[in-house]
């Protein structure tokens, strides 16, 4: 501005809107503003309104504080989320460590054993655990056959924790892994030449460098667990009711919007507070794999304390490793980790596979092992108009969702890659926000909005809701390929005579094609497996596959569910393997 004032000789040009890269994020911003920010804000507003008069009121929050049951649910929710996050980190760390040490090619293959469980439908996984943990389930059969006691693992806290950890473990591992693979292998060699035994080198060098990944994994698993309801509803008992279940009850049975809003606000504030805390300590940018910025120099008391503790751990474990090596020989240490990894991978993969024989059972009950085999339950599924229409709707909605999410998310990712550095943080945070806000909050907010717009029980409503949830996944998939994309190629294309659009079409798109298709497939899976929005938005006849499964699982377990589970598992795994292939080759 001041420059223009000092150069009056230049005729003033009319202001023209410039289509900078930031505009590419505009569709995403608009979509999320209307279908994400607005409904969530509305829901929070409802929690502060008096249901009769509409005046500002804190009734809902007071009720939350004064009724025992709600405080207890709050406590249970925190307890389960914390335990789940901790167990996922502790169990997952060695697996992530093992994966990080593998040569690249082999890691690419082994990681599928984590990626497939990650994307496997929560409903399928939970259904499998019901078969495994039940009073007459697989584990109790094995226990009885071995003359062991009857195990009480279903409808109590043990059952919930097993199911929750099983659900969150892949997320924890997949979040820790990129940070771990980013650690320079030469640092370990350097520590070795400087005199550090392997155990000390691990604690003093490797472990602290892997901490940002651990923290990010802790954050994501904790937040996801907070809003979870499938596992506690199906594997827990009355004493394991979590906050999200309470929200569902308030809406579906009581239609108490104000109180549901207050509960949602509680969930949201907890999630955001956790994020804020994380950002203060580690910096949110480390979630995207960028190096964490650290405040202050090397003199912080906390840092001193941490380094001191690591020193102790190093000395202790080095002594232990030496002792073990002396007693059991050096071979044991080398077999310990692979042995553990095998056990953990069995825990991740095996329960889901239990569904397979049940689906082909000839019995009318969920017996294991099945008394005989047949395809009866697939026939039931295929001849049921309810199941078939749900299946078709799921496919259709998932397809539409994937298309929209890929376009909007892809443009957003392009904006992220090309916009000025100071805008990047905002774009990144905005597009990922639907992942941080508990799904139940988004779903209830959308339900309220859609009720007014007449979108409840419509395919359009479902598609919009699913797009909000799928957007972050599509965005990340495209952003990942763009991160390694060399934009000088576009400059080269420009010097060779291509305009911006031509360069995009002829150079950029062909090179990032793999990432775009992967984005589509990830968005597809997200929608295909989505339950939370479907519970509220798909009513009566317009049900989706997960919604139909959920209803059946609550009412009456039957082998048809196993057949449907197999269908869902096969569809998702096939799409997923396709996406992984493309992501790698792209």
């Amino acid at each position: 501005m001041s420059l223009a004032a000092t150069v009056p000789a230049v005729p003033a040009r009319r202001w023209r809107p410039r289509f900078g890269p930031l505009w590419l994020a505009a569709p995403g911003f608009a979509f999320l503003a209307v279908f994400f920010l607005l409904p969530v804000a509305q829901l929070l507003g409802l929690s502060l309104e008096d249901p009769q008069t509409g005046a500002l009121s804190a009734t809902a929050y007071l009720r939350l504080l004064h009724v025992d049951v709600y405080l207890r649910v709050l406590g249970i929710t925190f307890r389960i989320a914390t335990l789940t996050a901790l167990a996922s980190l502790l169990l997952g760390y060695p697996l992530a460590y093992w994966l990080a040490q593998l040569p690249d090619r082999r890691r690419g293959r082994m990681i599928l054993l984590v990626v497939v469980p990650f994307w496997t439908s929560y409903l399928v996984k939970t259904f499998a655990w019901m078969i495994v943990l039940g009073r007459t389930g697989l584990l109790n059969r094995v226990s009885a056959a071995l003359g062991g006691p009857e195990l009480d693992l279903l409808h109590n806290e043990a059952g919930v924790l097993i199911g929750m950890v099983h659900a969150m473990l892949p997320l924890a591992v997949l979040t820790m892994l990129p940070v771990m693979t980013g650690i320079d292998r030469r640092l370990g060699q350097a520590a070795g030449t400087l005199g550090a035994a392997p155990a000390r080198s691990f604690w003093l060098v490797w472990f602290p460098l892997s901490m940002p990944g651990v923290a990010a994994a802790g954050l994501l698993t904790f937040i996801s667990s907070l809003g979870f309801f499938i596992v506690p509803a199906l594997l827990g008992g009355r004493h394991q009711t979590m906050l999200a279940q309470l929200v569902i009850v308030q809406i579906q049975e009581m239609l108490n919007w104000g109180f549901a809003g207050a509960l949602a606000a509680l969930l949201l504030v907890t999630a955001l507070a956790t994020c804020w805390l994380y950002d203060r300590v580690f910096g949110l940018s480390s979630l995207s794999g960028e190096p964490p910025r650290r405040r202050g120099g090397g003199r912080g008391l906390l840092r001193r304390l941490g380094l001191g503790l690591l020193g102790l751990a190093a000395t202790a474990s080095a002594a232990l490793a030496e002792a073990v090596a002396r007693i059991a020989g050096p071979g044991l240490r080398r077999r310990l980790l692979p042995g553990y990894v095998v056990l953990l991978l069995v825990f991740l993969v095996a329960p889901t596979l239990v569904v397979l024989p049940i689906a082909f059972t000839s019995s009318h009950f969920l017996e294991f092992p099945p008394p005989g085999y047949g395809t009866h339950w697939f026939e039931v599924y295929l001849s049921s108009p309810v199941w078939i229409s749900a299946t078709l709707r799921s496919f259709g909605v998932a397809f539409a969702t994937a298309l929209i999410a890929t376009v909007i998310g892809g443009l957003g990712a392009l904006a992220l890659a090309r916009a000025r550095a100071r805008w990047r943080g905002a774009v990144f945070a905005f597009f990922l926000a639907p992942m941080i806000v508990p799904r139940i909050v988004i779903a209830v907010g959308l339900f309220y909005l859609f009720a007014k717009l007449g979108l409840v029980a419509t395919n359009l409503g479902l598609t919009i809701g699913h797009t909000v949830l799928a957007l972050p996944f599509a965005f990340i998939a495209v952003a990942a390929v763009l991160k390694s994309y060399d934009w000088r190629l576009n400059q080269a294309a420009a010097t060779l005579g291509a305009n911006g659009l031509q360069a995009l079409r002829l150079v950029t798109v062909p090179l990032i094609k793999g990432g775009v298709v992967a984005a589509f497939l990830f968005a597809f899976i997200t929608s295909f497996d989505e339950l939370t929005v479907a519970i509220f938005v798909s009513g009566g006849v317009t049900t989706t596959l997960p919604k139909q499964m959920w209803d059946d699982m609550i009412l009456q377990l039957n082998p048809t569910l196993a057949a449907v589970s197999v269908v869902v598992f096969v569809v998702i795994t096939a799409v997923l393997l396709g996406a992984e292939r493309l992501r790698r080759s792209g």
Partner: protein, 362 residues
């Protein structure tokens, strides 16, 4: 270089060998390093020099052979007990530790007491002139500063042998030359035994007491820099270190019975014994002179001559290189002093040298 009585070598590499599947990374190799010596492993990439270094450090297990340090067999000693220092090409500083914590790390591993540790870290950082930056993190330093931290971290615990793996490879030319002087000073002040890996022949000539030239997974020639430069023992050695004109040919005898080498570029006299029926004649560009025109029949008959046209003039500040294209397609390089009269491009010229200035190699 000195006439001191033979001492026990600091480091002996005795028949070390390493293969990765069918690929031979290092043929059986023998190498002695004297206490306080600066030995450079020089060679192109894939010559086995880094493999040899990693074997000495213990980062890679040898297929055969032994490593002796001060006469002790250390072949099977794990890395962290080997008392070796290794300076990495990309520094490998611990990013979560400050400069002084990085430098103190090896002392901590050796159970050094806090007070002594602080003093020695201080001294090491003073030695590389970084004592004012000790509370910084590595990423807050420039490349040259990071490399000096890496050097301090290595010198601080006075390991028996210090290995350096292309430590200046990531720096730009000016800084690299500055750091060469720094490393030379550190070596002199600490009297450390250093094995240095580089592919840069100028760096090797500038730093080393001795150079071990490697090619195709084996040692090509070992010697003091002047010896390797003046008396290369192979065409590879002549070509890799400094500029060389190399003529390949058959050994014959002149009419007077003097040995000479018959090459496509001409027949050249040489001094000394021929290494075989076929040989290569190596002439350094500074030993060639230009004969603008023959001096009326009084041209010294003892000179070797090649005639051709000036193909290119390369100005390099302190000298000018004249590239002469010979009729057989070969190119001969002549080095001229900056004040010498320059020929024109395309001008027919004759380059000549005294037979004793050339070296015959197999």
């Amino acid at each position: 270089m000195t006439d001191a009585p033979p001492r026990q070598p600091k480091l002996v590499v005795d028949g070390l060998a390493k293969s990765y599947g069918p690929v031979v990374a290092l043929e059986p190799t023998r190498l002695d390093v004297q206490p306080g010596e600066f030995l450079t492993l020089l060679g192109p990439s894939g010559s086995g020099k880094t493999t040899l270094l990693q074997l000495i450090a213990g980062l890679v297990e040898p297929d055969a052979g032994r490593i002796l340090i001060d006469g002790r067999d250390e072949t099977r000693t794990p890395v962290h007990r080997r008392d070796i220092g290794l300076v990495f090409q990309h520094y490998a500083l611990f990013p979560h530790l400050t400069v002084s914590e990085n430098v103190g790390f090896p002392l901590r591993m050796r159970g050094c007491r806090a007070r002594a540790l602080a003093e020695r870290v201080e001294a090491a950082l003073a030695m590389v002139r970084l004592d004012h930056l000790k509370e910084r993190f590595p990423r807050e330093l420039s490349g040259g500063q990071q490399q000096r931290v890496a050097l301090a971290r290595c010198f601080v615990y006075q390991p028996s042998v210090i290995l350096m793996d292309e430590p200046l490879g990531a720096l730009d030319k000016k800084l690299r030359e500055h750091m060469q002087i720094e490393i030379k000073r550190l070596h002199r002040e600490s009297a450390a035994t250093i094995v240095y890996v580089t592919h840069d022949q100028e760096e090797a000539l500038a730093l080393s007491d001795r150079i071990c030239l490697m090619n195709h997974a084996r040692v090509e020639q070992t010697g003091v820099p002047q010896e390797i430069y003046a008396h290369p023992r192979s065409a590879f050695a002549a070509d890799f270190i400094g500029l060389s004109n190399i003529f390949r040919g058959r050994v014959e005898r002149s009419a007077e019975g003097r040995p000479l080498l018959a090459t496509p570029a001409g027949r050249f006299l040489f001094d000394g014994a021929a290494p075989g029926a076929e040989a290569s004649l190596v002439v350094r560009p500074e030993h060639l002179t230009l004969e603008a025109e023959p001096k009326n029949g009084v041209a010294a008959p003892a000179l070797n001559r090649v005639a051709g046209e000036v193909a290119e003039l390369v100005y390099a500040g302190s000298e000018t290189r004249v590239l002469i294209a010979l009729p057989d397609g070969a190119v001969v390089t002549v080095r001229l002093a900056p004040d010498a009269a320059l020929p024109r491009l395309g001008q027919p010229v004759t380059a000549c040298w005294r037979p004793e200035a050339a070296v015959l190699v197999p």
